[in-house]
């Protein structure tokens, strides 16, 4: 038993990339079997990702040298706790949300894009190579655009085109940075870039960071996000908000803490923190003005991404404690947001509209969807016992530990803002149903129950904060 399991374990990092890739090609070649393939490979990918996470938790980080050529000549994969945690989160959300997808007609293209996006996320999280990550980001961008465009309506196509233009520009800036790094340091491996320095490295860091901020929609480069996440089918919105935008944030964390470049970058890190505060406020303000439920949820993502960017200066000073907090926040947001989008999708499917005034009577007619939205809100606002609460708590502790109490003040203010925004949006749900609607509760479908289950995941992260934190910080960056 030992040897076979050991061999399999050794190949897990690449298997986690290869499984969805194989699934994507299979869906393309065998369009009729796409749904079945998606289910089978989803389970296989989830098992592999879970196993990797368990192994990293127990035995520490695991590497893999692709093609037998160690860096700098070849490409290595590196699964530390942070990467393994994100890969596992991706696998769960991709599989669960994917099982709910009901693509319009070209299901093969939808599932091909879905699995390509999954594989690309795994590449971005696991790869140790700056250029390999670029190709992964491009694959992720094109696959995500395909998911946004899949309804085929003009607003969806318009949003997809904007998303594609932003993504293309972002990866171009990233590519310029990677080229500068290679030209000055002679390697593309993140591990080999730890003591990169000088003007080329500083310019590279600037280009890559701006490119990634654009790709993950951090204020003020967030313009494409509400349209794209608001127009995509609900399961796609769930993973786009839940994990796809986080791939860019993850790379920013790595660039700013792992490879410090010897740049006197603390001032720049504080600038990133300020952008985070801007995102928090602006996202909340726009969500306050939005009239459609999915747009409210999308702007809430803009707002919540602010926390993850605000953590950059804290990661540099407070280290592991801040990382634990921000990853808990990221995971809780992924579950809560996926649950909210799926619930909104169920509402949209049932009522043909997700305008806020049409939510009236939701609590009595679609109690499960309403409950999912409520549970998601609890975590997004950061009330105990949710993962959102635990994450904010750790971050506040971390900011006090390094005497940066102003960050704590921002986190608390952000919670109040989120509460105001989300409660305003959901308030009509508690009103009585209009007279012309049947007042009987309708039977909840699979999508509503799934939405609730995923949203409850965000609550469960609170009590589970301990193991999650020890996984995330295993062999990790700061």
């Amino acid at each position: 038993m030992g040897t076979t399991a050991e061999t399999l374990l050794a190949h897990l990092p690449i298997a986690i990339i290869v499984i969805p890739l194989a699934g994507a090609v299979a869906c393309f070649v065998l369009p009729r079997a796409a749904r079945a393939l998606m289910a089978v490979l989803g389970i296989a990918g989830t098992v592999a990702s879970g196993w990797l996470a368990a192994d990293v938790l127990e035995h520490g980080a695991r590497g893999y040298v692709v093609g037998g050529w160690a860096p700098p000549l070849g490409i290595a994969l590196h699964a530390d706790g942070l990467a393994a945690a994100l890969v596992a989160l991706t696998a769960v959300l991709m599989t669960v949300c994917g099982s709910l997808a009901r693509p319009r007609r070209s299901g093969d293209a939808f599932f091909t894009s879905w699995l390509f996006a999954w594989a690309a996320l795994a590449v971005v999280f696991l790869s140790d190579d700056a250029f390999n990550v670029y190709v992964g980001l491009e694959l992720l961008g094109i696959a995500s655009v395909a998911l946004v465009a899949s309804p085929g309506t003009r607003p969806a196509l318009h949003a997809a085109l904007r998303y594609l233009a932003a993504g293309l520009t972002g990866s171009l800036l990233y590519l310029l940075g990677a080229a500068l790094l290679y030209a000055s340091e002679g390697t593309l491996s993140f591990a080999g870039l730890e003591d990169a320095g000088g003007a080329p490295a500083a310019a590279a860091l600037a280009f890559m960071t701006v490119g990634l901020l654009l790709k993950c929609a951090v204020f003020p480069l967030h313009g494409w996000l509400p349209g794209a996440h608001g127009c995509a089918p609900a399961p796609a919105s769930a993973v786009l908000s839940g994990v796809v935008v986080k791939s860019g944030i993850y790379l920013i964390w790595r660039l700013w803490s792992d490879t410090l470049f010897g740049v006197p970058a603390d001032a720049a890190a504080n600038l990133l923190g300020a952008l985070g505060v801007g995102a928090l406020l602006w996202g909340a303000a726009m969500a306050w003005r939005a009239e459609r439920l999915k747009i409210v949820i999308a702007y809430s993502t803009v707002s919540q991404l602010g926390y993850l960017v605000m953590a950059v200066p804290l990661l540099r000073t407070a280290g592991v404690e801040a990382l634990a907090g921000v990853m808990l926040l990221a995971a809780a947001h992924a579950f809560a947001k996926a649950g909210c989008f799926l619930a909104a999708g169920a509402v949209l499917a049932r009522r043909r509209s997700d305008r806020l005034e049409t939510l009236a009577g939701l609590v009595s007619q679609m109690p499960i969807a309403a409950f999912a939205l409520g549970v998601g809100t609890v975590s997004l606002v950061g009330l105990p016992p949710s993962g959102g609460f635990a994450g904010k708590w750790l971050l506040i502790q971390a900011s006090f530990a390094v005497h940066a109490w102003w960050w704590a003040a921002v986190f608390i203010a952000g919670s109040l803002l989120s509460a105001a925004v989300l409660i305003r949006a959901l308030a009509p749900a508690f009103e009585a149903a209009p007279a012309d609607c049947a007042s009987r509760a309708e039977r909840a479908g699979a999508s509503e129950w799934t939405a609730l289950a995923i949203a409850l995941g965000a609550l469960a992260l609170g009590p589970l904060a301990g193991p999650w934190t020890s996984l995330v910080t295993e062999g990790s960056i700061p």
Binding site: F131, N132, A149, P200
Partner: protein, 313 residues
């Protein structure tokens, strides 16, 4: 000395032409001029790249930038005539500031690199005999960084899948090119292009060339083949297209997994059979690239047409 001065003059002229065209392209108010000038930039750029010891990249740039994207840009221009988005563009200050900042940061990053040397050319040259090919760029693409190439083939496939879900293909140019002269031309050009593609693929192991150049050439042949058709219809060969377009990813995944059993690493070609395995993978990639690029030019899912072709404008 005379030769050096002439070369310098040539380089400065080429560079200045490209830059002037680049600015002209984004400043002009005429959308057609934007597209036409962009195609011109791609062609001049290809010449500039041959000056920088990159003939194979120049070939790929001419085929993809001027050829594939040029054709698509012209099609998009023709179909969006008269429905320009948004009002006239008057903003100058903000864009100029953005451009100046970008150029300043890039210049500051590049300046220290003049005369500095960093790279892996020597290490790669020293290990070429362990790769099964003897041209360094091909060795990097199919051996040292084969994972990049696998993902790149996936990007092509993802773009094709995304394009197909947008709707059915419409007839290519509605057969406007069809005629005796064009048919005679295709009869001569098609075999030449196929031979050229095979030569590029084969030469890639030892000298500039390889799967991408061969694939782009073969794609041009494929587009010609699709154009020799009175109605401009794209044959609905769904299965054949799907398999051909996936062939590259399938080969890299299949062979890459297969060799894992022998060498213990994904995509680690066993030395004894490296040459043959790489050739198989590259041939599959060539077919896939050619199919995908040609179908991207078509720009939609090729489906069987019933009765009349498309909607007349």
């Amino acid at each position: 000395m005379g030769i050096d001065a002439a070369a310098l003059l040539l380089d400065v002229t080429l560079a200045a032409t490209v830059v002037a065209l680049g600015w002209r392209c984004v400043i002009t108010a005429d959308r057609f001029e934007t597209v036409a000038v962009f195609i011109g930039i791609s062609l001049v750029m290809a010449i500039a790249w041959t000056r920088l010891e990159a003939p194979d990249l120049a070939l790929a740039e001419a085929a993809l930038g001027a050829g594939l994207n040029g054709a698509l840009l012209l099609a998009a221009w023709a179909e969006t005539r008269g429905i320009e988005d948004g009002p006239a563009e008057r903003r100058i200050a903000g864009p100029a500031l953005l451009a100046a900042t970008t150029m300043a940061v890039a210049g500051a990053g590049l300046a220290p690199l003049v005369g500095a040397e960093a790279g892996l050319a020597a290490e790669i040259a020293a290990r070429l005999d362990q790769t099964g090919v003897s041209y360094p760029v091909t060795a990097v693409l199919v051996d040292f960084r084969a994972l990049d190439t696998l993902l790149e083939l996936c990007v092509l496939l993802a773009a094709l899948a995304a394009t197909w879900q947008l709707g059915a293909a419409r007839p290519l140019l509605r057969g406007k090119l069809y005629g005796p002269v064009f048919v005679a031309y295709v009869r001569i050009a098609l075999p030449l292009l196929v031979v050229l593609a095979a030569a590029l693929l084969w030469r890639g192991a030892t000298s500039p060339g390889g799967a991408f150049q061969a694939g782009a050439t073969l794609a041009a042949a494929g587009v010609l083949l699709l154009l020799v058709n009175p109605a401009g219809r794209v044959p609905a060969l769904s299965w054949a297209y799907r398999i051909c377009a996936s062939l590259g990813v399938l080969a890299f995944l299949g062979l890459g997994t297969g060799v894992t059993a022998v060498t213990g690493r994904f995509l680690d070609w066993p030395l004894s059979h490296a040459g043959a395995l790489v050739l198989v993978a590259e041939t599959a990639a060539t077919v896939a690239i050619a199919t995908t690029l040609a179908l991207l030019v078509v720009g939609g899912r090729p489906v069987a047409q019933r009765g009349r072709v498309g909607k007349r404008h």
